[in-house]
């Protein structure tokens, strides 16, 4: 069931900040250091004293600092003593999950202010997510030679088989994301300039039908993000308009793809194993129902999906177009920067670069709503949707945001 409509607009984000370390800068900060920097920035923008923080919520531990009780390290470093401390799970969708939990905590009156923060670093390693096997089942999938792209490629080939979508159409997603990334100063692929469909199709195959440029490169360096969430009535007058949490939903369906496909079906998501159905559709339905908005009311979408084919299917699951219509939608310019829906204005994982536990798609949506997305600002954005994705298609979170003064 969807959350109560009474929760819609009951909470707001009053401070947000990112801490970034680029690979061409000196040093190699840990995720914890960057998270503390981001938290300091978010608290300053919110104008909230640390002693008022009632809860600190993090995503699961960063890949680069995978220690138990990571959230307690954050509390310790911030020198706070909140009532509640938690790591909100569901893989990388836990980032948005933490904001959803925060919204409920402040709306219920349990606490007044919640600090949500997460981040990760990559100071080396693979350039692209080409050979990573970490989201495969070590016992039953790894012995066959699984990789992350291979998991999503199986979805892509089924997508092509059932709905006739094409590699050219997948490539259009990479091209559209790149067109935004060229105006984001932090984007990993910014210096490469615009991308063409021909370049995507000419890039080496990673896992058929996915080419190299259908896959997300890793972000080089580190990024952390932090937001402060409070009740709308406490948001008050401030320089930046608060960003209101209008709708939210989240679904986790499995841990490993093999087992998930081995289920007879999870009502109401799918009646039989279907590689094209994730929890995104149900999460989005819940979010729309909570706030009474429809997909056509959304002016901006930011997603953390790491492959072109998956992003195209995500547009369908979010209700932007119907099942099987994503290919034609993008081919007709549906997400083109100059004429389409504003989609992944941060450049997407495909061109911004990917890190685990990413809060940067959310912060991009906040910046767009507050008119702070310099060089790539979408005019007049009043409603935005953020989609968080984690695991091998296992966890999906959706948050719908609005301008608090709109």
């Amino acid at each position: 069931m969807a959350a109560s409509p009474a929760l819609s607009g009951a909470s707001a984000i009053i401070g947000s900040s990112m801490a970034v370390h680029r690979s061409d800068q000196q040093g190699a900060p840990t995720p914890l250091e960057l998270i503390v920097d981001a938290a300091r920035g978010a608290l300053a923008e919110a104008g909230v004293d640390r002693s008022s923080i009632g809860a600190v919520l993090t995503a699961p531990p960063p890949a680069a600092q995978n220690v138990p009780q990571f959230c307690d390290l954050v509390v310790n470093e911030l020198k706070v003593a909140p009532h509640y401390v938690a790591q909100v799970g569901s893989s990388c969708a836990g980032v948005l999950g933490s904001v959803q939990v925060a919204a409920q905590m402040v709306a219920s009156g349990a606490v007044d202010y919640v600090l949500c923060c997460s981040g990760d670093t990559n100071h080396g390693g693979d350039k692209f997510q080409t050979a990573s096997a970490v989201i495969g089942d070590p016992m039953c999938e790894a012995p066959f030679g699984i990789t992350a792209p291979a998991i999503y490629a199986q979805m892509a080939s089924r997508y092509m088989f059932e709905h006739g979508v094409t590699s050219e159409q997948f490539a259009r997603v990479a091209v559209a994301n790149r067109d935004w990334a060229v105006d984001h100063p932090l984007a990993r692929m910014r210096s490469k300039g615009p991308l063409t469909v021909e370049q995507v199709l000419a890039s080496p195959i990673v896992a058929r039908p996915l080419h190299l440029f259908d896959c997300a490169p890793w972000f080089r360096g580190g990024i952390a993000g932090a937001v402060v969430v409070t009740r709308t009535e406490l948001a008050g007058d401030r320089a930046e308009p608060p960003v209101t949490i209008l709708g939210m939903g989240q679904r986790t369906t499995h841990v490993y793809l093999n087992e998930r496909m081995g289920l007879a079906g999870i009502a109401p998501y799918f009646s039989e194993p279907d590689l094209l159905v994730t929890g995104t559709g149900a999460a989005a339905d819940d979010a729309y129902q909570m706030c009474g908005l429809r997909p056509e009311d959304i002016q901006l979408i930011e997603s953390s999906g790491p492959f072109t084919s998956f992003l195209m299917r995500t547009l369908e699951e979010l209700g932007v177009c119907g099942r099987g219509e994503g290919g034609e939608f993008v081919a007709e310019g549906g997400i083109d920067r100059d004429k389409g829906l504003a989609f992944n204005t941060y450049g997407g994982m495909l061109s911004f670069g990917q890190l685990a536990q990413p809060m940067y798609p959310l912060i991009e949506a906040i910046d767009q709503l507050q008119g702070k997305a310099s060089g790539r600002q979408v005019p007049g954005v009043e409603t935005a949707l953020v989609h968080g994705h984690g695991g091998p298609m296992s966890s999906q979170a959706v948050v719908i945001l609005g301008r608090g003064d709109a």
Binding site: A131, C140, G145, I146, A207, E259, M261, L275
Partner: protein, 141 residues
Amino acid sequence: MDHRDTETVVGEYWKGIAEGRLLLRRCQVCRIVLHPRRLRCPDCLDGELEWEQSVGSGRIYSFTVLENWAPTDELRAALPYCLGIVHLDEGLHFFTRIHSDDIDSVHIGQRVHLSIRRNEVGALVPAFTTDEVPAGPPGPS
């Protein structure tokens, strides 16, 4: 009620593979066939699962062919290789390696059969191989 952890259950599964059998789990209450790493039936949550040998045949539900990148040196040497989900004839979708004499002709819907063989590090794995298409009657010349 069974009280075995996942490692134990999966260990029994791999023992079956070493003996040349693909073992699946079947719920003794619902009768549905389950993936070998299941501890409980996901429908009734009962633990009375019994091993049952797969018929070892099915159709390709989806697949991919890996080229250029793989996680280990041994796997890189094996490129290109095909991974896919086989819809077994008893109803279970099963992730596996798919072998074919003509990897470019592998397609969704293609019939495959179990062919347990050694992987790149010498472990026996329940791979599948595409069926040979029977030669049709000679057509008009």
